[in-house]
């Protein structure tokens, strides 16, 4: 009896600081579950100061929202749709702390930092690329790469588990008509400079319209050639990951009928089946080094949307995979809703109605946001 009593004491005596110290070493999934332990633990886990140490998970999506006015018909500002109660670590989703800009278009979100195209108040025809942290309101302006060639696409990468610095990749168009991938300019926030790297992937590779994943310190890009391309942040390691012939990547109305994402440290590939558009196939790169793909799920979109004959990128868009579990998120044009689908358990959940009508084509980007609460950007404000 004595030991039992003492046991209760030993653990119950832990100070909040020590509990947070322990929680900071757990994966985000366990942390989420332990919110249910007690109100006290819920408070510890959601406390703004503690969240700087405790692993965070997907809390919602940033998207560009139309805010046109008579004076400024092209005005856009970010907005946010949350999936976790009211736990957004920021007070203002429209990022008004970015002073001097009239229009802010969020482009890419990576591990808590947001990469935006921002149009200046004056002169109003000038824009900057800005990297900001919505939670800490720190931000920095990206210098221009100075490359005169036509840019094909920009990618923003940040992973605090690997490096406190962020990277921007600018892909150069090797050919103005076919989206062939040319050389790559890489910006590092460590050096504060761009460097030019000759492509190590080979010629005549065509970039798909969507799809980029930063995983294991490498940027992964989807091509239309049964290949995923990868490059590290130094531009030293170049890799081509072949896909299987059944993993087709076709395009429709500027949207790609395939998707790449990452969850639980693995690369996922999801496409609309060419033979049956009502089915999505999900593949996982099981062996990252060996390049072995496994076919994991077959998803019936009729089950998710309650309607047959819906097409990816026409009627709905696949916007993200949950970083901690096999759950995918859709926005659907028919009802303007955000839907999650648990692939392991076949469960569909309509999370909310969207404020924005999805009449625009292509679909607005909905950018998955995992808060990052440490200060790592220089303060411009």
């Amino acid at each position: 009896m004595n030991t039992l009593k003492k046991s209760a004491g030993a653990a119950a005596d832990l100070t909040d600081d020590l509990i947070v110290e322990i929680l900071s070493r757990l994966p985000a999934k366990s942390i989420c579950r332990f919110k249910c332990v007690s109100w006290h633990w819920y408070g510890l886990i959601t406390n703004a100061e503690h969240r700087k140490k405790i692993p965070q998970t997907l809390s919602g999506f940033f998207y560009p929202s139309d805010r046109w006015t008579q004076e400024d018909p092209t005005k856009m500002l970010p907005d946010f749709v949350g999936i976790l109660g009211n736990e957004e670590p920021f007070s203002d989703a429209s990022l008004t702390f970015l002073v001097g800009y009239r229009s802010i278009i969020p482009k890419i979100c990576c591990n808590g930092l947001l990469f935006c195209l921002c149009w200046k108040v004056s002169p109003s025809d000038e824009a900057d690329y800005v990297v900001c942290n919505p939670a800490t309101e720190k931000w920095t302006v990206l210098p221009e790469s100075g490359d005169e060639n036509i840019g094909l696409a920009d990618y923003f990468c940040f992973d605090p588990a690997i490096s406190p610095h962020f990277y921007v990749f600018q892909l150069i168009d090797a050919d103005e008509n076919y989206r062939y991938i040319g050389d790559v300019n890489i910006y590092s926030s460590e050096t504060g400079a761009w460097s030019h790297k000759e492509s190590g992937w080979g010629d005549e590779l065509q970039l798909a319209y969507r799809g980029a994943v930063f995983l294991n310190g490498m940027l992964h890009l989807l091509t239309n050639d049964f290949k995923i391309l990868a490059v590290d942040t130094q531009g030293k390691k170049w890799r081509t990951i072949p896909m299987l012939e059944t993993m087709t990547v076709s395009c429709f109305c500027r949207g790609t009928l395939a998707f790449i994402g990452q969850s639980q440290g693995r690369l996922y590939f999801i496409n609309m089946r060419a033979s049956d558009p009502s089915k999505l196939s999900v593949w996982i790169l099981e062996g990252y080094d060996s390049g072995e793909w496994i076919f994991k799920y077959s998803i019936s979109t009729a089950q998710i949307f309650g309607e047959k004959n819906l097409m990816l990128e026409r009627d709905y868009a696949l916007i993200a995979i949950h970083p901690e579990c096999n759950m995918i998120f859709f926005v659907c044009r028919c009802d303007d809703v955000l839907i999650s689908y648990d692939m392991d358990h076949g469960k569909v959940c309509v999370i909310c109605s969207l404020k924005e009508h999805l009449y625009q084509r292509p679909f607005l980007p909905y950018l998955p946001y995992v808060p990052f609460l440490s200060d790592s950007l220089s303060d411009r404000g």
């Binding site: 030991t3 003492k6 046991s7 209760a8 004491g9 030993a10 653990a11 119950a12 005596d13 832990l14 100070t15 600081d17 020590l18 110290e21 322990i22 929680l23 900071s24 070493r25 757990l26 994966p27 999934k29 366990s30 989420c32 579950r33 332990f34 919110k35 249910c36 332990v37 007690s38 109100w39 006290h40 633990w41 819920y42 999936i83 976790l84 109660g85 588990a161 690997i162 490096s163 406190p164 949950h322 901690e324 579990c325 759950m327 648990d342 392991d344 358990h345 469960k347």
Partner: protein
């Protein structure tokens, strides 16, 4: 007189000897004495390092009223084991210096060291490590506890930490619904 002088000399000699000793004596809350390598204690504990440097070490046993004998024995054991494994620690820290993650995985002996402890002893040791400012031991023990917690349900956590569930059924259901994914197996 002579006797007194002799005693004084003896005292002096003993003091010199103490100062030269390469161990320090620590006293637990329940009055037990433990000897620990001075070098390891100073290197692993910011609090003990401060006491050694500040001369507040008591030769008859420095009082650590907040730490029970079982926890202190483990602290001392850890320090002495650490003192014996410096070369390997140095080797490992230099070989993974490119890694920016603040926590280095426990070494094999550290893993074994915490694995043999009961829940009780482990929680007491975390508190002792925290009190003594032993960053590495705090890391290793917190890591061990977090390993134990992974995959556990809120019910199991409440049991281990002796926490009362103060949610209403409705409140709990609301939170659970939002986080359904977090309740599936790891």
């Amino acid at each position: 007189m002579e006797v007194d002088k002799g005693k004084g000399e003896a005292e002096e000699t003993r003091k010199v000897a103490e100062a030269d000793r390469d161990t320090v004596t620590l006293k637990s809350s329940d009055g037990k004495l433990f000897e620990v390598s001075k070098e390891a204690a100073a290197r692993l504990s910011t609090v003990l390092a401060g006491m050694i440097a500040g001369g507040s070490i008591d030769d008859n046993g420095t009082d650590l009223k907040q730490i029970g004998s079982e926890a202190l024995e483990n602290v001392v054991d850890y320090c002495n084991k650490h003192a014996n494994s410096i070369p390997s620690a140095a080797l490992i820290s230099s070989s993974i210096s490119f890694n920016t993650a603040p926590f280095k995985e426990p070494e094999e002996w550290e893993r074994k060291f915490v694995d043999r402890l009961s829940h009780d002893a482990l929680f007491d040791l975390v508190e002792a490590a925290n009190f003594l400012g032993m960053e590495r031991l705090l890391d290793v023990t917190c890591h061990k506890i977090s390993e134990m917690m992974k995959g556990k349900s809120p019910d199991q956590i409440r049991e281990v930490f002796n926490i009362k569930n103060d949610y209403t059924k409705e409140e709990l259901e609301e939170i659970r619904q939002e986080l359904a994914w977090a309740f599936y197996d790891d």
